[in-house]
């Protein structure tokens, strides 16, 4: 197992390497970091030259990539070059934003997987029941909907729910503008209460879409195992139906969904960009948009690298989960 993980990680390195090079080419050709300075009133050609040298733009692209790569590996991710950003440190900026978004992504995934499995299993066991139809149609509508629409609706009604709470003389619970300043304080109960209040709305908004996909997937997988020979055998042996469903069918039907969830992390991350925007959170979404609009190549590279690493790690997680859940597969 350990050897497998190490080997997989080693395979990932060239992918990340080549990916970083292609990303560097793409980012470098997407704009001109000097354009703003050229257009700035009172700037001289000398100023532009100086900045070009400072940013290394006088060197050929391969040399620039190499410089970037070596400093990236040594932990220096560079500084922002966008106007008004005061040369913010890319590593700090990207990791803070990543932290915000990652919590959201993780929460949404957990929620979506749990609910998706539950609904999918139930829908399969009670195939063609009203519940099944309801679940199916909900799922279809969900993944036919732009992500931000769910977020908009959830947020609006969340605030109204708060109004109901205050109407009943309670404090506002659900928040819309990100975690409280200075973290979560108070006793354990208070902290949990505030924490769920902060994350509930965006997590629901983000989880809804993947939930739809997972529930469909789980239903299909469950149907397949339920109709397989070994399940029929188990029934024939006279085992109680519940026992058959959970001990025999369910375990095997879990495999596709868990791997899908891990592989799906990139897509959920895309969704998080949107959800954050609706909620006004300063996460990876906001960072991406401003870095693209103001054209901030070092920031964009940091952004791409950290998400790439995340995806690679989760692909590995998917493989490992697959190995754990399916005893027929031996990793090694």
């Amino acid at each position: 197992m350990v050897r497998y993980i190490i080997r997989r990680l080693l395979v990932s390195i060239p992918i990340l390497g080549i990916g970083s090079f292609l990303a560097y080419l793409m980012v470098a050709s997407a704009g001109d970091p000097l354009a703003e300075l050229r257009g700035r009133p009172g700037s001289t050609e000398a100023d532009v030259q100086n900045l070009a040298i400072e940013l290394g733009l006088d060197k050929p692209i391969l040399a620039r990539y190499w410089d970037w790569l070596t400093s990236f590996l040594s932990g220096d991710w560079g500084t922002s070059v966008a106007l008004g950003q005061a040369r913010a440190d890319v590593f700090d900026r990207v990791t803070t934003a990543f932290g915000t978004t990652f919590k959201l992504v993780l929460g949404a995934e957990v929620l979506a997987v749990t609910l998706g499995i539950a609904v999918g299993v139930l829908a399969a066991v009670k195939q063609y029941s009203i519940f099944d139809y309801l679940a199916t149609s909900t799922a279809f509508v969900m993944f036919s909907m732009p992500v931000f629409c769910v977020a908009i609706v959830v947020k609006t009604y969340g605030i109204q729910f708060n109004n109901v709470l205050t109407g009943m003389g309670m404090d506002r619970w659900l928040t819309t503008a990100g975690p409280p300043v200075g973290g979560f304080k108070g006793d354990v109960f208070d902290q949990v209460w505030r924490y769920t209040g902060t994350f509930l709305l965006p997590t629901i908004a983000l989880g809804a879409i993947s939930f739809a996909a997972y529930s469909r997937f789980q239903r299909a997988a469950m149907l397949e195992t339920l109709s397989s020979d070994y399940v029929r055998t188990a029934h024939a042996k006279g085992l109680r139906p519940m026992r058959v469903i959970f001990r025999h069918a369910f375990r095997n039907a879990l495999i596709p969904v868990t791997t899908l969830a891990a592989l799906n992390i990139g897509a959920v991350f895309s969704g998080a960009i949107i959800t954050e925007t609706v909620f006004g959170w300063n996460g990876m979404g906001k960072l991406l948009v401003s870095a693209v609009q103001q054209f901030d190549p070092p920031m964009l590279m940091g952004w791409l690298m950290i998400t790439a690493i995340l995806v690679v790690v989760f692909n590995l997680v998917a493989d490992i989960l697959y190995g754990i859940l399916d005893p027929r597969i031996r990793l090694g």
Binding site: R40, A46, Q85, A86, D92, T175, G178, G182, N282, F295
Partner: protein
Amino acid sequence: MRRSKAVSALAVMTVGVLALSACGGGGGNGGGTEGGGVLTAAKGSQPDGIYKAPKVKSGKEVVVGHDAPYTTFNNQTADGNNFNNTLIANLVLTEPFFVDINNKVLLNGDVMDAVEETSKSPQVITYKIKKGVQWSDGAAWDCDDFYLAWLSQSGKAKKPDGKSTYFTPAGTNGYEYITPECKDDLTFVTTYSQPYADYKGIFDKASMLPAHILEKETGVADVTKVTPTSPDVEKVATFWNTGWNGFKKELMPASGPFKFDSWQQGQYVRVVRNDKWGGNPAGPEAVTMKSISDPTAQKQALQNGEMNIIAPQAEPVLAGQLRELSSQGVKFSAKPGATFEHLDLNFKRPLFQDKAFRQAFAECVNRNEIVDKLVKGVDPTAKPLGSLLFMAEEAGYKDDFSAVMPADPAKAGKTLEAAGWAKGADGIYAKGGQKAAFKISHTDIPRRKQTVELIQSSCRQAGIQIEDDTDPNFLDERVSNGDYDVALFAWVGSPFKAEKKPIYITGGGQNWQGYSNKNVDAEMPKVDTEFDESVRDAALQRANKAMADDYASLPLFSLANLISFNDNVTNVGYHSRNGSTWNAWEWEVS
């Protein structure tokens, strides 16, 4: 982000140029509010032209929403300068003069004894600093801080190449004329090489950074001994340019009523009362500045009680929604500000060298419709702006543009025909192979796009075809190169008329449209030399009339300043230059 984009190119130019004169917008003394609890004058403003932080009730923390994250303590560098940093500088830094919400300039009595003009020719200004004023780390706030502000922003410290400078300030206005001297720790003397009427506008709070920190970090014993040519200037400049970027609390002592408490990159900044502040202590025990870029999200956060004060960009939809929240205890105010939208016609384009064509364009733009649909939702009393040089509330305001901009497409068509234009088969006029067609360039702001759509629509009736050129980087990269047919953008206006000169005189630094008119060139320079306000205003009125008759630049409307807050906070108002936090220490929270 939207606000800073809208004004980013301009914010750079106007930094530190709080040009000065007495033509404020009226307003009472000693503080005042109008209906709805919105401030019309600072509470601590005294009749004798002095400001002192007032005694206010001590209260809880206030959370303020703003557009984009805080980036640097030194907001005067070209890299760092942005409006969001100004909002935070308001809280933690102090300055010799305090500009009231009604644009009155008051001596900051908490830190200054006096600022005097000790000689007229040459102009000499002497700053007398109050004894015992200190930074939150205990060091004295005194002459070396003034000296550093000059050293860093005068643009005198040139690199060996003779072209670029060691310091990279966002602007040098005023400082370049000064020869400074620290007579003693509490007396700073500036001698001007040419008269500079706006002297009260420089050495503003964002410029007054802690020199003692810079000395410690660079190892320079006394910054006042560093001249633009001394060898130490390079390391001083290096620290000034980048040393304060990000958030290093130990390098960021406060001189204002608040000091830094905590920060999370890209998320928020929190300040608390500064116990070393010499004046009356601030009302709120802490202020948290939280950045949320989406105006709707800001509104919802206010509605949901997560924020106390927001000042998003004024949009009719948002304004309507905020008004509706009054039943939930949300206050709202929108008043015409000093910033105005206008169309600049590029005189380097042959099309716009044709005066008849400029006239036809001016005639087909329907400003009433634009104001009705885009502005009245925010400020129901809004009207089209009739002057490039004065705001409607100013004494010198005279509407010269309504007459030349009748919003009459039919008339525009006749104007073109009279000048020899003929309508083509496509319904667009043409003359000598030149079609009556051009682009309007602007940044990616919904209001601008809508403005262009309305102009397109009314000018099409006049046989003029307009293309929409939306470019998010228009202000940052193109406008100052004159890379446009017609530019739609805003000037961050001010009552200080000296700023207007470079925009309209021949060859002026901001005259990007290439406009030139002898009468304007004769009248505009009087803003520097003419100290009699009525004479100066008359000159500006003549210049404005000349520009209207030339159809040079077409003012559309002034943008409203919008602020909205929960009714548990009082003494809140929006300052057209310094934004929502200009008087945060005066806020009373219940």
